[in-house]
């Protein structure tokens, strides 16, 4: 256990006491399969006897509903949108993630500060600015980046919810060609994620494989991250751990 570290500033109200929990982040573009993996990881970690809290982008009680409302209007400048994302991120850090970490739980986070930064930079927001503003973000114990190529992403997106206005970058790129917009936006976004992955030492996982393959890779890596944490004894006895096949 080490004292909490932040990317930029130490936010007010956060003490320097060590956090016994683990912060595990899953990053990746829309449609890459993050939420499926989070669901599987949560179940597995709970079965292993760990307390788990899962949270994701725009799920804060404070800013989540406002972001959804604002995005319906389609007329938001990128600075305001990103400050709403930053508000959402901080609120979840303060109310969900930090309490879980203090209580010795695993916080599984579906998109963290990196998604905010990547989307902002693609929309022309100065990188230094958004990184400084989000400098209150706690440095995670591990960040997994689910990597995919646009051609592999297309069938997944089309077979689920189709081309979303924002995930196609239409607020930024405009125009009527939704497909071209999606391809261009996602190509830029993936390049941005890969840059972040290199600079911040993410563990990159090829998301082109099957759900089970990706899960096994994540599970094996996370088993290392949570090693040494306290867990529920009954679960340890009742459930024999099954490592990778």
């Amino acid at each position: 256990m080490t004292a909490p570290r932040f990317y930029g500033m130490t936010p007010p109200g956060v003490g320097g006491e060590p956090l016994p929990g683990r912060l595990i982040v899953i990053e990746g573009t829309d449609g890459v399969g993050r939420s499926t993996q989070i669901s599987l990881l949560k179940e597995w970690l709970e079965d292993e006897g760990y307390g788990v809290v899962d949270t994701g982008l725009t799920r804060s009680r404070l800013a989540g509903p406002g972001i959804e409302r604002a995005k319906r209007g389609h007329t938001l400048d990128p600075i305001t949108l990103n400050l709403l994302y930053a508000t959402d991120l901080w609120d979840r850090l303060e109310r969900q993630i930090l309490p879980a970490l203090r209580a010795g739980m695993v916080a599984l986070v579906d998109r963290y500060v990196f998604s905010v930064v990547a989307r902002a930079v693609v929309r022309g927001v100065p990188r230094d600015w958004i990184e400084d503003v989000c400098g209150f973000a706690l440095v995670p114990d591990r960040v997994f980046y689910l990597d995919i190529e646009v051609p592999q992403l297309l069938p997944r997106v089309l077979s689920s919810h189709g081309f979303d206005y924002w995930e196609s970058g239409r607020d930024d790129l405009g125009g009527d060609d939704v497909y071209a917009s999606f391809v261009r936006y996602q190509t830029e976004l993936l390049a941005e994620f890969r840059g972040l992955a290199g600079r911040h030492g993410f563990t990159t996982v090829d998301a082109g494989g099957s759900v089970v393959e990706v899960f096994h890779r994540l599970r094996d890596e996370i088993a290392e991250v949570v090693r040494g944490m306290e867990r529920e004894p009954a679960a340890v006895v009742g459930q024999t751990s099954t490592p990778a096949p």
Binding site: L62, A63, G66, I79, T80, L84, W129, V133
Partner: protein, 218 residues
């Protein structure tokens, strides 16, 4: 406006897109120093991009009731690091003039408590736990804010106006300082209606603005 300058007014905490979230946070007391700061910055950003910048490009005078200095003073009084606040608001337009209406703490407390039925939770800094009593917390918190303003006056070019003077004196002072900056600012096309009113010694205070702008054709 009486001088015919194209004037746009923007008020703290009034973005139609962000205001609902701030209100939710205040009502449910969900705001902490950082979220309070971030949500007000979002509100400010939305007004900069949708009100202030377009109006300035069009040649208008923008009057802002509270600006970044409000956040610098208030958020720093809540313990938010000043350097981070400067970065957060670095997208703000540097004002041509910034006035700071100064009153001593006791006078500020007297004015607010005399004109209001009750002091609000965040206004009193109750989220900081400075005191259990609302009024006592308000006094301590406002004292901190005034201290921050003193620091800001040194850091930024804030023009101090002694707000214990009469309103007339304050207006004279402010108008004298603003006037030299108005050269070249666009004036509203009054058309013949406004000209006729002026000749009759009337301001047309109750006439709908479009009538004045279009010369009475609408």
């Amino acid at each position: 406006m009486g001088q015919g300058y194209l004037t746009v007014f923007t008020e703290w905490n009034s973005s139609p897109i962000v205001r609902g979230t701030t209100r939710l946070g205040k009502r449910r007391q969900l705001l902490t120093p950082m979220s309070f700061s971030l949500i007000h910055a979002a509100d400010f950003a939305n007004r900069i991009y949708s009100e202030v910048l377009p109006a300035m490009r069009a040649g208008a005078v923008v009057l802002a009731d509270r600006y970044i200095y409000t956040a610098f003073a208030r958020d720093a009084a809540r313990g938010v690091p000043p350097e981070w606040l400067r970065r957060l608001y670095s997208f703000a337009v540097t004002p041509t003039l910034a006035f700071y209406f100064d009153v001593p703490l006791e006078e500020a407390l007297h004015r607010i408590t005399a004109s209001r039925a009750r002091i609000k939770y965040y206004e009193a800094g109750m989220d900081l736990g400075l005191a259990d009593d609302l009024f006592e917390s308000f006094r301590l918190f406002q004292g901190r804010i005034l201290g921050e303003y003193e620091r800001l006056r040194g850091e930024f070019d804030l023009t101090r106006v002694d707000a214990t003077q009469t309103l007339v004196r304050q207006q004279q002072q402010v108008r004298a300082l603003v006037a030299p900056h108005l050269a070249g600012v666009r004036r509203m096309e009054g058309g013949d209606v406004q000209e006729a009113l002026r000749r009759s010694g009337l301001a047309g205070r109750y006439v709908e603005p479009p009538t004045l702008r279009s010369g009475g054709e609408e």
